[in-house]
């Protein structure tokens, strides 16, 4: 454990975390630092040459075509998948040493008929902290109720999860990340399949997660450009990292999408143009 007594952020963590395993954050290190990172499924390299620094509290959109490695990158950062090359450091330590990372799965990966309520799911975020054999205390339950209130689901708290709309399902997972006291939240395609109002709700909620480092895998370049300070463009390797203006240049988009996508800046933000004359399927 590296302990930095002079760093107020780090000392606060010591008080807050009464758990095993979790390391004390190195206050001088970026929230996430990747150097020539590579990841593989079995023998097949699916992601390489990823190099970037993300400071704590930054919101990053990870964009790229299907199969570009967006989910893979999130899983490596979450400590769910080992990496095969380069380095990845989360607050100065290996991802698996952290308890402060929340991962929000794609909605299609969740069994929505599972007999649990919204409160049950948010409470699951506390399981690690409670440890085995212990049940949630009154204080834990208040914490969970508070997290549910913060995402505006208090009137849905005792609904079975399959009764929620798509947007509400995403907000429930955000509440779980809040209850988990996650400092880094990884979200895999949270806007997939949402209607426009739900999408706006979820995005507004993400904007309010101040202080939380956020990495969101996205399909929609327009949303990435309009709502995120930093974007990372992937297609099996990193094509660009930086502000949307820096990254979404024609040559980078061509490299990622094969020339089918253009981005036009307007007064209201960015407009993404899909070239319909370009019949080549994006791989």
């Amino acid at each position: 454990m590296t302990r930095k007594d002079e760093a107020p952020v780090a000392t606060r963590k010591i008080v807050k975390r009464r758990t095993r395993a979790s390391v004390v954050h190195d206050a001088n290190a970026p929230a996430i630092a990747a150097r020539d990172l590579a990841a593989a499924y079995g023998d097949r390299i699916v992601l390489r040459e990823v190099t970037f620094d993300l400071s704590a509290g930054a919101h990053l959109a990870v964009v790229g075509p299907n199969g570009a490695g967006k989910s893979t990158l999130l899983k490596v950062i979450g400590g769910l998948l080992p990496w095969v090359g380069g380095t990845i450091r989360v607050h100065g330590h290996a991802p698996r040493d952290h308890l402060c990372i929340a991962y929000v799965p794609q909605r299609s990966d969740v069994d929505w008929r599972f007999p649990v309520t919204v409160t049950d799911v948010v409470l699951m975020g506390l399981t690690g902290r409670l440890g085995p054999l212990r049940r949630a205390s009154e204080r834990d339950r208040r914490l969970v109720a508070g997290a549910i209130e913060r995402v505006g689901l208090e009137d849905r708290a005792h609904r079975q999860i399959g009764e929620l709309s798509g947007g509400e399902q995403q907000r429930m997972f955000i509440a779980r990340a809040i209850a988990q006291e996650a400092e880094i939240v990884l979200m895999d395609e949270p806007l997939a399949g949402l209607d426009v109002p739900s999408e706006a709700d979820v995005l507004a909620l993400l904007d309010r997660l101040g202080g939380t480092t956020l990495l969101v895998a996205l399909h929609d370049l327009g949303v990435a450009a309009a709502r995120f300070h930093r974007v990372l463009l992937l297609r099996e390797r990193m094509i660009g990292f930086g502000t949307p203006d820096d990254v979404f240049r024609p040559e980078a988009l061509e490299a990622a999408y094969g020339g089918c996508v253009r981005m036009v800046r307007t007064a209201d933000g960015a407009l993404v143009v899909h070239d319909s004359a370009c019949s080549r399927e994006v791989p």
Partner: protein, 286 residues
């Protein structure tokens, strides 16, 4: 005959009282463990573990003789736990598809069991008892074993309830919370294995899957939380055990089959009539 007499008449026989207690205990236990079998979609796995007990019993018969029921129990228990852990190990390696691996273990172990048993004279009787149960032959000692091991399984479920539910619902969350997900997964397999062995005398191997799955699925249709699914499932399981045994007594039907048929009837009823998930109900969305 009045309803009261109808209920009391079988209780004149001590073997019936023992059988009723055993059926109720096993019905409840199978349903509670079966809750996880249903929620994790591991019905095939449960069936495989059940059938893989046979070579253990066969070895017990060969080593200790068929009269020694106690040692048959231990042989069955040891084998089922080994098989459960083995299947868990194979399915985590991922070289072949999980259901293929399970199928091979399942059929291989069952064949091995039959081959071993066939070397024993009069093996047909043993095989029938193992396959279809012998609840009327339950002794006080058997009851004690059922209660002790069933109790141990329930205790583990209570102690690790939230972890078992979490890894069933969202193993990825378990991984980000740095919980030992693989350990809990194996614990669940071992709980299924113990349940199978404890239930062997009541329902038998061939119908074990029904008791693991039917009451829990019925409860799944009727409830919306894991806790109530377990409670309702246990009630249905106990009731199936008792009603099935009475039907078996009065209509001279094989007891294991009668218990399973009652459980299946309850499931069909729920499937037709449930307010939220039944066939006669149209969900608002999806």
């Amino acid at each position: 005959m009045s309803a009261f007499e109808w209920l009391v008449a079988p209780l004149r026989y001590p073997f019936m009282i023992r059988a009723l207690v055993a059926s109720a205990l096993v019905g409840g236990l199978c349903s509670i463990v079966g809750t996880f079998v249903v929620l994790r979609s591991m019905a095939f796995l449960g069936d495989a573990i059940a059938h893989s007990v046979l070579p253990g019993i066969a070895t017990g018969v060969l080593v200790a003789g068929r009269g020694d029921r106690r040692s048959l129990f231990w042989w069955a228990l040891g084998t089922s736990i080994l098989v459960a852990l083995g299947i868990g190990w194979v399915s985590e390696r991922g070289r072949i598809k999980e259901d293929t691996a399970i199928g091979i273990v399942f059929a291989g172990m069952f064949a091995l069991g039959i081959a071993l048993l066939s070397t024993v004279r009069g093996f047909a009787v043993d095989l029938v008892h193992v396959l279809f149960g012998d609840v009327l032959g339950v002794s006080v000692g058997d009851l004690a074993l059922i209660a002790a091991f069933g109790g141990a399984v329930l205790l583990l479920v209570v102690l690790f309830y939230k972890e078992l539910v979490l890894v069933s619902f969202d193993p990825t969350l378990g991984a980000t919370l740095r919980l030992p997900v693989a350990v809990y997964r194996r614990l669940l397999l071992v709980l299924v294995a113990i349940t199978v062995v404890v239930s062997l005398q009541v329902v038998g191997l061939a119908l074990m899957l029904a008791m693991l799955v039917a009451p829990a699925t019925t409860a799944y249709l009727l409830t919306r939380r894991v806790r109530s699914m377990m409670a309702v499932g246990a009630l249905i399981g106990v009731a199936s055990g008792l009603i099935g045994l009475y039907l078996s007594f009065y209509f001279a039907v094989a007891s294991g089959a009668a218990i399973v048929l009652v459980a299946i009837a309850a499931f069909l009823l729920a499937l037709l009539l449930t307010p939220r998930r039944g066939l006669l109900h149209r969900p608002a969305r999806r």
